[in-house]
Structures are given as structure tokens and as C-alpha cells.
């Protein structure tokens, strides 16, 4: 009886739960009924062939993980030949995540993907591993505006901009994405982090630095989702540390229209469908007819309170 449908950045989804880019691939089919997901989101692809980063590529931390996978990519032809036909077998909308070293490269790649079976483009303008020392388009409002504008000119597909949490100005960057023509912002990618092995004195990641994800970052990204929800009128897709139905509700209350689940799937492969079931049960228990009503429904968040911070 609960209506789980949401409308996000130009796409109508059966429910608000989808995978986070880079944490989802065909292997999950063995354990999860993929047709139940709100959308599919591919691992980020690039035009260039890329090998990804040296190993070790992951490390455990308290309540989270660091990864420095990088963006290994087999290029567009391999995507068209293998990945796209594979995902086309389902009716679930397919969101293709893309990246490029230049705004021009982003635009060209988006243009090349305006194909049947591609439902939306997620522009990963935030991956902390790509630019040296963690810089990315989405660390700067002007660069964000520029790349999103060019993407907007290059494709008629719904366009989502995936932001980085490695900034002190997330609201300004979300506004730049909106101004550039994005249909939604995905908040956020991983938080740049690091770990050192005290036995070997070496970094725990082959790449020294990597992205932190998982429950540890949930309070940080949730805050950013809330800031973005207040700053823009396009939908915000929350992504960071979501592992339970309550986490998804928390994100929606803070302003998310839909959520992406990444790291949780590694620990619990059925995490996404468990969350969908749990959302349904939760709405039922609370007498909520349309899940979309949860978006931004947090109470007691007036500016008086925020200003109260200073007193």
C-alpha cells in the first residue's frame, strides 16, 4: 500500500534505493533480485583506457573503509559491447557514471552515451583519486559550473552531478551545478583519507591516499545533503554510509529525494533490497502513504536554531 515511487532529476523510479557507482556489478545478480532496485548505476567509465591504482587498494578503518581503486576503465567500446547490453536485460533505469580529465572530455563522453538503454548520466566530477593530491572539478564552484554547462549542452539525457565532500563550500558547489543545468546532485563521493601501517611505516594504500566510505562518514555527508537541500531546488540524492532503512529515512528527512548504497553492499550483499523492504515496513508502521513526503520533512530546523549556534 505504501507508494515508494520517487521522481529524481528527470527520472521516475519505482523506489528511492539504488547502488553507488563503483560498488555494483553483475556479480550481485547471484544474491539479489536486481529488478527490485530503483535504478542501476554503473562504475564510472572514461574514454581512455585506465589501469587503476597500485595494490593494496583497500584498508579497514573504524566504521568505514578506505579505497584507492581509482577508475580502471576499458573505454567506451567495451562498455557498449559488454556492459550496456548486460544491464539492458532489465527494465530498471540505467544511470551511467562518467568521468574525464577535462570539461570537454566530459561533454564528448556524455554525447557518445546518448543511446537507447541509457536513462541518465551521472557525472562523477568528484572522484578524489583522479587529480593529483585529491583535487577535482567539484572542489571549485567555477569549475563545476563550467563542466556541468558543457555537459548540459552535450546531452538531452537527465544529468546528475556527483559532488565531492572534500570542500568547505558544498552549498555553493551544488548551486553551481544547478545553475549549470544539472537535474540533480548526488551528495557525495568519498572523503579523502589515509592510513599508515605502524609495523612497516608504509601507507596502507598503494596510492597513499584514498576515499573513506561507510558508516563513519554518514554524519558528515548527511549534513552536506541537508545544506544542499536548502541551497538548491533540484533533487538531492544522498550517498554516504547508508546501511539500514533508518539510515535511508534519516537522509530523506534531511533532504534527500533518493539514496545510493555503496559500502554496505560489500558487508551485506542484500543491503539494498533489505533497505527497500525496511522502508516499506517503516512507512507502514508510521502510516506514511508516500515515501516522497519524507524528503526534507525534518522538523525544528528553522534558521533561528541555526543562528543560535553563535550564541
Amino acid at each position: 500500500m505504501v507508494d515508494l515511487a520517487v521522481c529524481v532529476g528527470g527520472l521516475a523510479l519505482a523506489n528511492p534505493v539504488m547502488p553507488a557507482s563503483g560498488t555494483f556489478a553483475e556479480g550481485l545478480e547471484q544474491v539479489v533480485r536486481l529488478e527490485r532496485l530503483g535504478a542501476f548505476v554503473t562504475k564510472t567509465i572514461t574514454s581512455e583506457l585506465r589501469a587503476g591504482n597500485p595494490t593494496p587498494r583497500v584498508a579497514e578503518t573504524a566504521g568505514g573503509m578506505l579505497n584507492s581503486i581509482g577508475i580502471p576503465s576499458k573505454g567506451v567500446p567495451a562498455f557498449l559491447e559488454h556492459t550496456l547490453p548486460f544491464w539492458r536485460r532489465w527494465k530498471v533505469p540505467l544511470v551511467v557514471s562518467i568521468s574525464a580529465p577535462t570539461a570537454q572530455g566530459f561533454a564528448e563522453l556524455a554525447a557518445a552515451l546518448d543511446l537507447p538503454g541509457v536513462a541518465a548520466i551521472e557525472a562523477n566530477i568528484s572522484c578524489p583519486n583522479i587529480e593529483a593530491d585529491g583535487h577535482a572539478f567539484a572542489m571549485d564552484p567555477a569549475a563545476t559550473l563550467d563542466v556541468v554547462r558543457r555537459l548540459r549542452d552535450a546531452t538531452r539525457l537527465p544529468l546528475w552531478a556527483k559532488l565531492t565532500p572534500n570542500t568547505g563550500a558544498i552549498a555553493a558547489i551544488a548551486r553551481a551545478a544547478e545553475e549549470g543545468g544539472a537535474d540533480a546532485v548526488v551528495v557525495a563521493n568519498t572523503v579523502l583519507g589515509m592510513a599508515v601501517d605502524t609495523e612497516t611505516f608504509r601507507p596502507r594504500l598503494g596510492n597513499v591516499m584514498g576515499g573513506l566510505s561507510g558508516p563513519a562518514i554518514k554524519p558528515i555527508v548527511l549534513r552536506m545533503v541537508h545544506q544542499c537541500h536548502k541551497a538548491v531546488s533540484i533533487p538531492v540524492i544522498g550517498c554516504g554510509g547508508i546501511a539500514t532503512p533508518e539510515d535511508a529515512v534519516e537522509y530523506m528527512l534531511a533532504g534527500a529525494s533518493a539514496v545510493q548504497v555503496g559500502t554496505a553492499t560489500f558487508l551485506q550483499p542484500t543491503a539494498m533490497t533489505d533497505i527497500i523492504d525496511g522502508l516499506d515496513a517503516w512507512c507502514r508502521r508510521r502510516g506514511i502513504a508516500c515515501i516522497a513526503d519524507l524528503t526534507g520533512a525534518m522538523r525544528g530546523d528553522d534558521d533561528v536554531l541555526l543562528a543560535g549556534a553563535a550564541s
Binding site: 553483475e26 547471484q30 581503486i69
Partner: protein
């Protein structure tokens, strides 16, 4: 890759909560875990693995799951067994399991060992925890009527595990140890050359030691003997999704990255690169 081509379609995996039947010490470092598990878990092929959600204890809170090779999968009894070394926080947590507790485990996963119909006699060479991985291969060979010579290498006699398991499966078992020097690569090489000469080495299988891998690669190349190796790498998803478990492989003269959890953990021996 004729060997791999012969592999059966991997059974679909499942994530199940398996009751613990036993979890006993085998020696001062290893425990033997027996779980009740229906299909598809108990249909796991030799070399396939499970991804275990090791319980958190006070000080040890493992974040990822831990990969563990099937030591034994018994479809009749509906059981799956593991032989594991207690090393870090995940396996320490595993060691706390008591009969009646439940363990969440995902599997069977990955590409396991496969036997070419043309092979009559194979040589299995393992060390340490690698023996756990090779044990079900000996069982599979026994079922298919393939003769097995198993060379089990360990620090000392007290540390050789699974001798009886290999014996029961009808394998000719040779134990080599560091204590008496019989495990030195040059001495193992002599053993292997003997087996090749005796026509008992249609294929090589190994796991658990870089030096033994390199030895088998060299002799295999020299005598045109195919082979397979089971490899390890730290894993997050275990399902081929995260690309964290890649290792470099030689393929057609180029170095390529493959995922241990998805493309392996068993690989053609000539592709593997030492570590």
C-alpha cells in the same frame, strides 16, 4: 585454457546464516570450523571460497568480511568446513564461535579448480594454509579416478595438517618439513622431477607459497605441464564489484589486472606472477 573451460558453471551463491556444528583447535594456530549448510553452499567446488562475516568481539571489530576457502563441502551431510589460521581480528572473532552460534556466510564464490578429462595423475603441492585449499581438489580427483600425489610442506611435522585428509582420499602423500630440510626448494624440485619422470605429473596444482609456485611454473614450462594455482588477495565485496582484489597476471605477453574473487581465486599457473 582447456582446464578452466572444463569447469562446471559455478553454482549460484547465497548469503546464509549457518549454524556452527564444531569449531575446534587443530594445533596451536589453526582451527577447524564445521557448519550446517544446505545448497548451494554444500555444493561448493574445490577452490571456491566463502565470504564470512566474522563476529565482532570487544576489541576486534572487523569491518570487511573475510574470504575463506572451502576445506570440505558435503552435499549429503549438508555441511561446509573451513580450516583457518587465527591471525588477525577477523579470524580471532571466528575463533570465538561456539556450536549453536550462527555465522553469516556468502558463497560459494569464485572460479575453482578443474580437471581436464585427459589427466590421469596430478601433483598437488601446498604449504601452510594452502593445504586447506588443496584438500577438496584431492577429493575431486579421487571421485573422478585421477591419481594424486600430494606434497605437503610445513615448518615441522607438528605443523603439517590434513595429511590424514589427503590419505583418506587415496592420495600418495609426501610430507616435507623445514626441520629436516626436506622442504628446501631444491629437494622438492628433485621430488617433482622424479614424479615427472615416473609419468605421475599430468598437471601441477599449488597454493600457499610463492617459492613453490615459481618452482612449479619453471618445471611446468620446461616439461609442458599445465597447472593451476589458487591465489589470495585482500577482498572487500568478494563478488567482483569493487576491484580491490586485483593482482597482476601475464596474459599474451602483457601484464593485466584480474580480480582474485571473480576471475579466480584459481588461475592458470603460467599466468600468475610471484609476490
Amino acid at each position: 585454457m582447456p582446464a578452466l573451460a572444463a569447469a562446471a558453471e559455478p553454482a549460484a551463491a547465497a548469503d546464509l546464516l549457518a549454524p556452527v556444528i564444531a569449531n575446534d583447535w587443530v594445533n596451536d594456530e589453526y582451527k577447524h570450523l564445521v557448519l550446517e549448510a544446505g545448497a548451494p553452499a554444500c555444493l561448493a567446488g574445490a577452490g571456491q571460497f566463502f565470504h564470512l562475516l566474522c563476529p565482532a568481539t570487544g576489541a576486534d571489530q572487523p569491518f570487511f568480511r573475510r574470504p575463506m576457502s572451502t576445506y570440505r563441502a558435503d552435499p549429503e551431510a549438508g555441511r561446509v568446513e573451513f580450516l583457518y589460521k587465527v591471525t588477525g581480528r577477523g579470524t580471532r572473532g571466528l575463533a570465538t564461535l561456539r556450536p549453536g552460534d550462527r555465522l553469516r556466510m556468502l558463497g560459494p564464490l569464485g572460479v575453482g579448480f578443474s580437471l581436464d578429462a585427459a589427466w590421469r595423475n596430478i601433483v598437488v603441492l601446498g604449504r601452510g594454509v594452502g593445504l586447506a585449499t588443496l584438500a577438496p581438489l584431492a577429493a575431486m580427483a579421487a571421485r573422478q579416478g585421477v591419481g594424486v600425489t600430494a606434497i605437503l610442506s610445513a615448518r615441522s611435522l607438528a605443523h603439517v595438517m590434513s595429511v590424514s585428509a589427503f590419505n583418506e582420499m587415496g592420495a600418495r602423500t609426501i610430507v616435507v618439513t623445514d626441520t629436516d630440510g626436506s622442504s628446501a626448494p631444491c629437494r622438492v624440485e628433485t621430488l617433482l622431477r622424479g614424479l615427472i619422470a615416473a609419468g605421475r605429473a599430468d598437471a601441477f596444482f599449488t597454493c600457499g607459497s610463492n617459492r613453490l609456485l615459481e618452482l612449479m611454473q619453471r618445471l611446468g614450462a620446461e616439461h609442458g605441464i599445465p597447472g593451476q594455482v589458487a591465489l589470495e588477495q585482500q577482498m572487500a565485496c568478494g563478488l567482483g564489484m569493487c576491484f580491490c582484489c586485483v593482482r597482476p597476471f601475464r596474459e599474451g605477453g602483457r601484464e593485466v589486472h584480474k580480480r582474485v574473487c571473480w576471475d579466480g581465486p584459481v588461475f592458470p599457473i603460467e599466468e600468475a606472477m610471484g609476490w
